[in-house]
């Protein structure tokens, strides 16, 4: 317990320290606030402009989450297919790798042309950008499942889908949660990207407007808000992860008296 508290204290102070360092370095190195504003300035801006920012935050958060939810669903489904079928592996991987190597900025305009500007392309972008890491990790998790564990169910006459549900997927959970952390950050990037290209709402829009007018500290307020949202979602996944994959990260829990 006290160990736990110490960890928390240390980590909080280190994170606070990070921002302090940023502040101090900016002052010492005399960094122009047009290049990199100090955290304190950003905070002030964020506070002052919060009423204006709020609807944009909601917009970005909701498009991101919707896109992310779709992305995770598709990613898991594709991951299962890729992880279990050799042909799917050989087909899907090159296509997915190829597609992922393309900057999504180039894809968003196409979405805009097909679906108009605004929320739809943002959701789509948030979705497509987060699929790949999930596919890779689910597929790897399934492919590295110990055959011995699958054998247990095979002898019971389990069908392929039963083996998948009872062995493959639970076994792949640590991989899955690892990929979620990457995927959610990508989803935010995707949604914001699409907003910068074509939308009149969202943090991406705010940042674009702000940066075209050189309101640098507003740009950074947007960035910090994005980071915060990412961290909050990460925290939620972490909780889930601890509950679900505790078996994989177990240690000895000896009671010392």
């Amino acid at each position: 317990m006290s160990d736990n508290l110490r960890t928390r204290f240390l980590s909080t102070s280190l994170i606070v320290g990070f921002f302090l360092l940023w502040e101090v370095l900016c002052i010492i190195l005399n960094v122009s606030d047009l290049v990199l504003p100090r955290p304190s300035e950003i905070l002030v801006t964020m506070y002052n402009r919060f009423p204006v920012l709020w609807p944009h935050i909601l917009q970005t958060l909701s498009t991101t989450l919707i896109g992310f939810a779709f992305g995770v669903t598709i990613g898991v489904a594709l991951g299962v297919i890729v992880g279990t079928s050799k042909v799917a592996y050989a087909v899907a991987y090159p296509l997915l790798v190829g597609f992922s190597s393309i900057p999504k900025v180039a894809v968003v305009p196409i979405f805009v042309l097909w679906f108009g500007s605004g929320t739809t392309p943002a959701i789509l972008t948030a979705m497509v950008i987060c699929v790949f890491p999930i596919v890779v990790n689910i597929a790897t998790g399934l492919a590295t499942t110990e055959p011995e564990l699958e054998d247990v169910l095979k002898t019971m006459g389990a069908s392929r889908s039963e083996i998948l549900w009872n062995v493959g997927l639970p076994r792949a959970m640590p991989y899955f949660f690892a990929s979620l952390k990457v995927a959610i950050t990508l989803s935010f990037v995707g949604a914001v990207l699409s907003e910068t290209v074509a939308s009149n709402m969202g943090i991406g829009f705010v940042m674009m407007t702000a940066s075209s007018n050189f309101q640098v500290s507003l740009v950074f307020a947007g960035l910090i808000l994005l980071a915060l949202m990412g961290v909050i979602l990460y925290a939620i996944f972490s909780l889930l992860e601890r509950r679900i994959t505790g078996w994989a990260t177990r240690g000895n829990d000896i009671a010392i008296t």
Binding site: K154, M156, P170
Partner: protein
């Protein structure tokens, strides 16, 4: 641990086909026809099993003994259809690869409990997967199933550990839960790979009793791999001895002692003689 050998085989608190119909039973006859297994190719190829022929009637209790690495586990995997023979044929109930359709209970040599499930959930797994239990499982009879699992766990002395995870158990405890998982769904065909190896003599003898009661009660076909000749003699109706790798069956003898047997039997002269004979046979096979 409150383990007495008088506890009957686990009573089934829910309606399931208690007695398997004869037609299904006949299906659990086993036949290996010159079945051999070779792992890998080229230089690294390992012959795990020489062409082996072996027949087992339904309801037989066969013990398989033989030196380490001779292919005993391989035979079990062949019968349970986990692997296919490189050559030859493996028939279960007269058909190839028919094992799929059969209720099989398999205790692996290395207890492979699923690490994300508690012992209870692990032992429950066959009830979730195997018909006809599967159906009732879906109909949310989980409470009844849980009682059944707990009863069995209690019988092997793991009553307090139902909610523990596999890595919280000792080696012998794991092996016992492994056995429970093989027995819980009352299989027609039991494949047991050294299921008592990591247990002390007393626990082992108690489990022998449970095993024997269960066999006499339900008469499944049992294929037991063991290194303990007394275990083989106590439980089996027939003992097969295998040669060293690549293995073949070099001796195939029935155990004539009447069943049920009790622990005292193993100190009887006939029993000692039988095990001595087996011992010598194995010794000969080794030196050849």
């Amino acid at each position: 641990m409150n383990m007495t050998s008088n506890i009957p085989a686990p009573t089934l608190p829910i309606a399931t086909p208690e007695t398997t119909p004869a037609s299904v039973r006949a299906r659990s006859a086993i036949e290996l026809q010159a079945a051999s297994v070779v792992f890998g190719t080229g230089e690294t190829a390992v012959t795990a099993l020489s062409p082996t022929t072996l027949k087992m009637a339904s309801g037989e209790f066969l013990a398989l003994v033989g030196p380490s690495g001779c292919g005993k586990s391989t035979i079990l995997k062949l019968v349970s259809n986990l692997i296919r023979p490189s050559a030859g044929v493996v028939l279960v109930g007269g058909r190839e690869a028919a094992a799929r359709k059969l209720r099989i209970g398999m205790a692996f040599q290395n207890p492979t409990m699923l690490p994300w499930l508690t012992i209870e959930q692990n032992v429950m797994m066959p009830l979730k997967i195997v018909e006809p239990f599967k159906r009732s499982y879906r109909q949310d009879k989980k409470g009844a199933f849980r009682d059944r699992v707990h009863a069995l766990l209690k019988q092997v002395g793991l009553g307090d550990f139902a909610n523990h995870f596999p890595w919280q158990l000792s080696g012998g405890m794991l092996q016992r839960s492994n056995l429970c998982r093989a027995l819980i769904h009352e299989p027609d065909l039991l494949l047991l790979d050294e299921p008592f190896g990591a247990l002390d003599q007393f626990t082992r003898e108690e489990l022998w009793q449970i095993m024997q009661d269960l066999y006499l009660d339900r008469a499944p076909t049992v294929l037991l791999v063991t290194h303990d000749l007394r275990e083989a003699g106590f439980l089996a109706s027939r003992i097969c001895v295998m040669s060293a790798r690549p293995g073949r069956v070099i001796s195939d003898e029935p155990v004539t002692l009447p069943q049920p047997r009790d622990i005292a039997t193993i100190y009887s002269p006939e029993f000692v003689e039988m095990t001595q004979n087996l011992r010598e046979m194995i010794a000969q096979a080794r030196s050849s």
